[in-house]
């Protein structure tokens, strides 16, 4: 008899275990469906998907056609996925307290399913939303990566943050439900946590370790850096988030009424705490000396990291991730050079990509103008206004000899530079407007370029505007080519340039803004 019992006992045990697991999964499925029926979750989910799609389908800026994937991965974190997280926090909390609110806790006590299994099921009910977020993030990233102008490398750890954050919020709501079993606790604590995180980062002066304690860490700078110079401890941070999620789940299983306080749970609690702390310590190391040296080298001696490609007459030197873009730069250089005359039309140029990486992503730095003759600087971003800005740098290097001298121009040559920069564009007037800091076509203004800007007086602006709007392109081109030496002579008057180009000379004499 006993032999028979011993023989049959193990299958019964595994069967029970399997049934327990099936019950947890069934409850998790039910709770996940219930969450979808909550107005906040449904609304924020729709908003999240809609907002992401809208951003992809209707780009705001020409730069969106040329994404750098090391920025795209980070951009998936801050967005309406935060709102989805908050909605899930509140709704999971409410779902976990539903039995308490309805007074059915005591009914559950007579069921075979233990309370801690219910807690696990509530935690699992968030997983479909994390998977959904991961799909949205992956979809958005793939979409951007497939754009013809995309460069750079994405990081899996950065992409994992948005789904992990959603999971984090859900299990935090669950933990709050187990620690403070009152329905009003979660919404109030959300605001408190937010205020405390602002307080901690302010009171520690944005120290590296405290900045990375918050689940989503954004950066101040819009600069695009080569991906090996970014220096965000993304993998450590992902580990930290995984640790937090597991810590919250085990904490919720451990805490509260009917919590499971057996030694495996205690061990798991200790283990997840160690995991979280490891992540927190790992991500708080700050910038390593090697990275500082690499940033220094890339900022001051970019040629050591770069590879050069020849297109036509000129040479294009770029960081490895950007070499695919040299052809696009060459198109702009050829466009500008086709309008030039004299020796400038045949002048070989060196287009060198430069970046100010010494501040990392903490702040934006400006790049000094190059003093090397016939060298033009190009930045790491491209598209939109960056194209006429680069064109104006090419034009000023052709007219003045180098960028630094180009930035100091204040005679009639400014008109020549601007004609070269935008004259060959498909819509010259709109490029002219956008390359000016105030987006105007009259009055004096600053003209942006990848390095130091040019300045235009009101008279020069009038001449360029009239040339672009009322003179046929072919006539101006031939006039510029045949009078090239006169138009690029140092000290040439704006009035003389206007006469050569066939427009009315400005009333006031030259010249520069502020002189």
């Amino acid at each position: 008899m006993s032999a028979v019992m011993e023989a049959t006992a193990p299958p019964v045990a595994t069967d029970e275990k399997r049934r327990g697991r099936a019950a947890v999964l069934a409850l998790a499925r039910f709770e996940a469906r219930e969450l979808l029926l909550q107005i906040p979750v449904a609304l924020t989910l729709v908003f999240y998907v809609g907002y992401t799609l809208y951003g992809l389908l209707f780009p705001e800026d020409g730069m969106d056609a040329y994404p750098a994937l090391q920025d795209v991965d980070r951009a998936t974190q801050s967005g309406p996925s935060v709102l989805l997280g908050i909605a899930l926090l509140v709704c999971v909390n409410r779902a976990a307290l539903r039995s308490r609110r309805r007074g059915t806790d005591r009914h559950f006590d007579v069921l075979v399913m233990e309370p801690w299994r219910r807690t696990v099921a509530h935690a699992l009910s968030v997983v479909p939303y994390a998977v959904g977020t991961a799909l949205v993030v992956l979809g958005a990233f793939t979409w951007q990566a497939l754009r013809p102008g995309a460069v750079g490398h994405g990081s899996v750890a950065e992409l994992a943050v948005a789904p992990l954050f959603v999971l984090f919020c859900g299990v935090l709501g669950l933990l709050i439900a187990r620690l403070f079993p009152a329905v009003f606790a979660a919404p109030v604590l959300v605001i408190l946590l937010f205020a405390v995180s602002v307080f901690v980062s302010a009171s520690t002066g944005d120290a590296e370790w405290s900045r990375w304690l918050s689940p989503i860490v954004s950066e101040n700078s819009n600069e695009t850096l080569p991906s090996d110079l970014i220096g965000r401890p993304a993998a450590w941070h992902a580990l930290y988030l995984v640790g937090l999620v597991l810590l919250f789940v085990t904490g919720a299983v451990f805490a509260g009424h009917g919590g499971r306080r057996t030694w495996p749970v205690k061990a798991a609690l200790a283990g997840t705490l160690v995991l979280t702390l490891t992540g927190a310590v790992g991500q708080g190391q700050g910038v390593s000396p090697e990275l500082t040296a690499a940033r220094e080298k890339a900022s001051t001696h970019p040629e050591k990291d770069q590879t050069c490609v020849r297109h036509g007459r000129s040479e294009y030197c770029a960081f490895p991730e950007w070499t695919v873009r040299t052809g696009t730069w060459a198109g702009v250089v050829d466009r500008v050079q086709n309008l030039a005359g004299g020796s400038a039309a045949e002048q070989p140029l060196v287009v060198r990509q430069r970046v100010e990486a010494r501040y990392g992503l903490d702040g934006d730095g400006t790049i000094e103008s190059s003093t090397t003759p016939h060298q033009v600087t190009v930045g790491t971003r491209w598209g939109g206004n960056r194209i006429p800005e680069f064109a104006s740098a090419v034009a000023s290097a052709l007219v003045a000899g180098d960028e630094a001298k180009g930035g100091e121009l204040c005679d009639g040559r400014v008109v020549t530079v601007m004609w070269l920069a935008v004259g060959g564009a498909s819509d010259p007037l709109s490029d002219f407007r956008h390359v000016r800091l105030d987006d105007s076509t009259s009055g004096s203004a600053i003209v942006l370029s990848p390095t130091s800007p040019l300045s235009m007086s009101a008279g020069q602006t009038d001449v360029v505007r009239e040339v672009l709007s009322s003179r046929p392109r072919a006539e101006v081109t031939s006039a510029v080519k045949s009078h090239w030496d006169e138009l690029t002579a140092p000290g040439v008057k704006t009035a003389d340039v206007a006469r050569v180009l066939g427009v009315e000379a400005p009333k006031e004499a030259d010249d520069c803004v502020g002189e």
Partner: protein
């Protein structure tokens, strides 16, 4: 009149017991914490931070007030002769002095040089709080739920998160003090307040007949759904 006053006197005590003081208190305490945190920092008080912390505090207090109309005994209080409008107004009247005191304390916690214009920020806080109350009244009016508080709080929180993102530039409500749109934004806040008061008033009376639009089918005796 004396009889009415006598009834009201008994009513005040009864209603005061049913006001969810813990939720209101939690909102108030956390709100004061939120406003008071920068006091622990040395250094110049930041007007922008102070303005947004006051907005946050008003939101926390409103989240507490979202539970104000929760009435666990709703099925018993529905048929009593005192109209619901009177009972809910009494709850608000009981909480109003607390709210006024709390808001004064919150404003006092902000250093004077960082304090935003008092009238304008009070209007924002009043509109936020009234909006939460109107949402609670709407939930009570449209559903049979005795305690709609958690849903109302979730809805208010979601609205508060989505509104700054979704409002078009010209209708912006959350503008900094030195913004030229400050005055126009506060006219809009006044509009929000008026709208919330109207919704509150419209949802006050007990409906004569229940429509089955937003009503959950809950047969008598069955307390929850399968997962509850």
């Amino acid at each position: 009149m004396g009889a009415v006053r006598g009834v009201s006197g008994a009513l005040v005590g009864a209603v005061a017991r049913t006001v969810p003081w813990r939720a209101v208190g939690a909102g108030a305490v956390v709100g004061l914490l939120v406003v008071g945190l920068p006091r622990m920092l040395s250094g110049e008080p930041d007007p922008w931070l102070a303005l947004n912390l006051l907005r946050g505090a008003a939101l926390v207090f409103a989240l507490g007030l979202a539970f104000l109309l929760d009435d666990p005994a709703r099925e018993l209080t529905t048929p009593v002769t005192t109209p619901r409008r009177l009972r809910t107004s009494l709850r608000v009247a009981l909480v109003a002095p607390v709210a006024a005191l709390w808001w004064t304390a919150a404003l006092a916690l902000v250093p004077e040089e960082a304090r935003p214009p008092l009238g304008a920020i009070t209007l924002e806080a009043a509109a936020t709080v009234t909006l939460a109350l109107a949402a609670a009244a709407l939930a009570v009016r449209l559903t049979d739920e005795p305690e709609p508080g958690p849903s109302v709080a979730a809805a208010v929180l979601t609205t508060a998160c989505l509104t700054p993102l979704l409002l078009p530039f010209h209708w912006d409500l959350f503008v900094p003090v030195d913004d030229p749109r400050w005055d126009a934004a506060h006219q809009r806040w006044a509009g929000v307040l008026a709208g919330a008061v109207l919704v509150w008033a419209a949802c006050g009376p007990e409906p004569l007949r229940r429509r089955r639009v937003l009503r959950r089918d809950r047969p008598a005796g069955a307390l929850g759904r399968p997962g509850a």
